[in-house]
Amino acid sequence: MAPPASPSDEDLMARIADGDRDAFAQLYRRRRPDVFRFAVHSSGSRTIAEDVTQDVFMAVIHQASRYQATRSSARAWLLGIARNHVRRARARPAESSLDDAGVALAVVDGDPLPDLARRRSIAALQRAVLELPPRFREAVVLCDLEELTYEDAAAALGCAVGTVRSRLHRGRALLARRLRTDDAPLVHTRLPRWIV
């Protein structure tokens, strides 16, 4: 007998709205890393990210009935809430310093990557992402780091798909420019000339 299929996020959201405690716990364990990762990449602060993660799931407790599966995936909805909390947290003077980037980089430093050059390039890119203007940073984080579809990213950001695309393109162009000026190579691997 085949094991029962894991319920989708959307099913869990519906059950949470009906007061299902187990569904909430399940969604929390499943999506907590996504929310945390998004918050770290968006804020540059591990402390903010931990707070935001809790805040997002507090919001789920009180607002699960507002979620509409026809409009976006549950993951996009969660990241949209996280985005608002990150913005608020970064707006607070004590937590908006760029020094927070160091906290996020400490997360990278804790990862046992063998290659120092590779770690440096990752750290440089992470810093460059954090220094992007918020609207471009959000698009890059959602689409490239969280790998949301354009449609889900648009739902999370509350804007049109075309807007997401243009912000993403602009954000990536800024990243490339910044990394060139920082003399931090993006990658050291040789890419094929005819890629497509």
Partner: protein, 225 residues
């Protein structure tokens, strides 16, 4: 094909977004012939690869059990709270209904009302299918009816009384009705007349059921059956 026509798709190609075959072929053809766009595509690929490594490098923290426990506690508390808030909403709605009734009674003298003989207003759209649900959800309705039996002896039951629900004035502009409660009230006769519940009244008050929506606003009213 010009570079400007290919450019919007280069990032998608680099990111691995699925494109339709014709578009992909056009981009391929152009990139084979254009060194600038080929370099741009290579750069976009490099950015995607680097961002992918950034995403992989991020390890989530080890979550303390207290974080989940705190949220589950909050979940339990939130599930307990709505019952209390519904009671307060019902009280607030009752106060609002009585305040409105008093205001209407003050501004409309009862003597003038019978001459108006208003046509029965249309039934509130969207209310009718929900009324049975609202009745079903009113667990304390029977308890409230008992004390009002005494009041019903002094309240008139005029002929041509409306015992079906009719829309509360202005209710059509409120958010959609989702759920609600019935509340039995003593309406001033003048208000019952102006609402079209009765065509004439020879007593001061008329007993009615007011349907209160999920937001605490009155949606519909009927004469108490």
């Amino acid at each position: 094909m010009k570079c400007s026509m290919v450019e919007p798709w280069l990032v998608d190609v680099a990111r691995g977004v699925s494109l339709d075959a014709a578009t992909l072929e056009r981009v391929r053809d152009h990139v084979r012939q254009c060194r600038g766009c080929a370099a741009r595509l290579e750069r976009e690929r490099a950015i995607s690869a680097a961002l992918h490594r950034v995403a992989e490098a991020m390890e989530p923290p080890s979550w303390p059990p207290s974080a989940e426990a705190a949220l589950l506690d909050a979940f339990d508390r939130a599930r307990a709270e709505p019952r209390r808030s519904r009671v307060w909403t019902a009280y607030a709605a009752a106060a609002a209904v009585f305040a409105l009734a008093a205001a209407l009674a003050w501004t409309r003298p009862p003597a003038a009302a019978p001459n108006r003989n208003p046509a029965p207003p249309p039934t509130h759209r969207g209310i009718a299918p929900s009324i049975s649900a609202a009745n079903a959800g009113t667990r304390d309705a029977p308890a409230k009816r008992e004390p009002n039996r005494a009041a019903s002896s002094r309240a008139s039951r005029p002929p041509a009384a409306r015992t079906e629900f009719i829309s509360w004035p202005g209710a059509s502009e409120l958010p959609a009705f989702e759920s609600g409660h019935l509340m039995r009230v003593d309406l001033p006769a003048s208000m019952a007349l102006s609402l079209g519940l009765v065509r004439s009244a020879d007593t001061a008050v008329v007993q009615a059921d007011v349907l209160i929506g999920q937001d605490g606003f009155a949606r519909a009213v009927r004469l108490a059956p």
